[in-house]
């Protein structure tokens, strides 16, 4: 006889090594059908990128994973558990942290209030001290208004505040967009540090040179689905193809 309890455990429901597993994901903005069967895997502890041109559906994919798309279908399994039907707050509480493209810093909250806003959902989140060690600028600006800081500082705040919560999977949507090279480098160092600490990361990037310094695997998104994938180690041999995909 099959043991029902064993079947219900996450380990039985998905390969243990997978943090996130997306398959046949469809999503709509109103009537407009934007994702057409997105599918990709994110192994635990790895950094995976979604590369693709403007409008390919990268942001929409992250929004679907986070549960903030009103209309979505298909399957999104996080640590073996199906989340496609869960409300956004339950997905966050399962342990996914989201840093949106527009950063989502609250203007009516101070830097400190922004930082402390996300509740701790699981043990093992970063301490304030570690966060200030990673982002020394924030410590100096705790009482300023959230949106009174520079774009780079706001980006750091947007990343910093999801580290306290104990989330194990981070969704980072174009964290380097529009930032100066030194800031991009600092964010790059932060992401590799997070990876070293065991975080699993889905990174949306237009700048694949930046992505190549961090990622284990790349997925190329086009027209709302994944059209190609390769390991970071194979990036050089795929560089021409990638140029064609991204139109650079």
């Amino acid at each position: 006889m099959v043991d029902a309890a064993a079947l219900a455990t996450p380990a039985a429901a998905a390969p243990a090594a997978s943090s996130l597993s997306v398959s046949d994901l469809h999503a709509w903005y109103g009537e407009s059908h934007v994702l057409h069967g997105m599918a990709f895997e994110v192994p635990k502890g790895q950094v995976v990128t979604l590369l693709g041109r403007n409008g390919a559906g990268k942001t929409t994919t992250l929004r679907s994973i986070m549960g903030v798309m009103n209309k979505r279908k298909g399957s999104i399994r996080f640590e073996g558990r199906e989340t496609i039907k869960l409300p956004s707050r339950a997905i966050a509480r399962a342990g996914i942290g989201y840093c949106p493209e527009e950063r989502g810093i609250f203007a009516s909250l101070s830097v400190e209030e922004n930082l402390m806003l996300p509740p701790v959902v699981r043990p093992g989140g970063m301490s304030r001290d570690t966060i200030f060690e990673l982002f020394p600028n924030l410590k100096e600006r705790l009482s300023s208004g959230g949106t009174k800081m520079s774009g780079g500082e706001q980006q750091m705040l947007a990343i910093a505040r999801i580290l306290r919560s104990g989330a194990s999977l981070l969704l980072l949507d174009e964290p380097t967009e529009g930032l100066a090279p030194v800031i991009v480098q600092q964010i790059g160092r932060t992401i590799s540090r997070l990876k070293a600490e065991g975080y699993t990361i889905v990174l949306v990037e237009q700048n694949f040179r930046f992505a190549a310094t961090l990622a284990d695997r790349h997925y190329v998104v086009e027209g709302g689905r994944v059209v190609d994938t390769f390991l970071n180690a194979d990036l050089q041999s795929n560089i021409d193809k990638l140029h064609a995909y991204l139109g650079v």
Partner: protein
């Protein structure tokens, strides 16, 4: 007799105190409206009816259950707040995705129904509610004599308004509330239960109205129309202060009460319209109100 600009000081201070008392109620009620509007984006037209329910809850608690004023001050806001929560969960929650006009129609309709029900049961003549004995002796302030209960109302209202302001501006609960006002989707994506926050906020705003109702019971007689009478002025206060501004609604509430009191002294004929004149003047200069942010 002392005079100030030709006005007997007794008269002047008397009217200013009356103005402050009215202002205390304007502040409490417009504060609740501002809190609700901030998060729910709904103009709560049933606010006056809920204020009236608070006064009646106090009256019924005393007459039927023998609960005194102090008990009513705690219980009436809880009871009416719970009623508000039921309304929010069963009716208003269905309207958030629709045009705000639906929320306005619902709360307006509810106000008419609640008032009608109370008018049916209690008629329109006022019911007396005695101030607690501790407030019998008036305060001798030297320059004037102040009925102790009125002093209590001003102090209690100030304390509640300031505590509310403090909670919203200075605590982590308040930060969550402000964040949810600004971007509820993002707040949900952090794992916070925004619908529950909305429900509790509405319940709190309603409880503030009920508290004002109990405070008002010994001053104005308890009657089904008391909410409809005051709420028109309160809406003008909210428009002048700026929709959704917490501190703005409190300051404007007290200031306009004082303006009314002053007008009673210098030009009594205008005392019931002065707030609306100010409203028009403010709207011409600052369409978002004195403390309002641009929409």
């Amino acid at each position: 007799m002392h005079t100030f600009l030709g006005i007997p000081t007794q008269v002047l201070f008397g009217q200013l105190t009356l103005g402050l008392i009215n202002g205390a109620f304007y502040a409490l009620l417009s504060l609740g409206l501002a809190v609700i509007f901030g998060l729910l984006n709904i103009v709560n037209f049933s606010h006056g009816a809920l204020y009236m329910m608070g006064a009646f809850a106090g009256y019924i608690l005393l007459q039927v259950f023998g609960v005194n004023y102090w008990g009513a001050l705690v219980l009436a806001p809880l009871i009416v707040g719970a009623f508000g929560i039921v309304i929010e969960r069963t009716m208003m929650a269905r309207l958030y995705r629709l045009d705000p006009i639906y929320g306005l129609l619902l709360t307006f309709g509810l106000a008419l129904i609640i008032q009608g029900l109370f008018r049916n049961s209690y008629g329109v003549s006022g019911l007396p509610y005695a101030a607690p004995p501790i407030f019998r002796a008036p305060l001798q302030l030297g320059f004037m004599v102040l009925p102790a209960y009125r002093a209590w109302v001003i102090v209690a209202s100030l304390v509640v308004c300031l505590a509310t302001w403090f909670t919203i501006e200075k605590t982590s609960l308040g930060a969550t509330l402000r964040a949810a006002t600004e971007n509820p989707v993002m707040v949900s994506a952090f794992g916070i239960n925004v619908p529950r926050l909305v429900t509790l906020t509405y319940g709190f705003g309603v409880a503030l109205a009920a508290l004002a109702g109990v405070l008002a019971a010994p001053i104005y007689s308890v009657n089904p129309n008391m909410g409809a009478d005051i709420i028109i002025v309160v809406f003008a206060v909210v428009v002048i202060g700026g929709m959704g501004s917490i501190l703005g609604s409190v300051i404007t509430g007290f200031a306009l009460g004082l303006c009314e009191g002053l007008t009673k002294v210098v030009y009594p004929q205008a005392s019931s319209t002065v707030i609306f004149v100010i409203m028009i003047a403010v709207l011409m200069v600052k369409p978002n109100g004195l403390f309002g942010r641009a929409a």
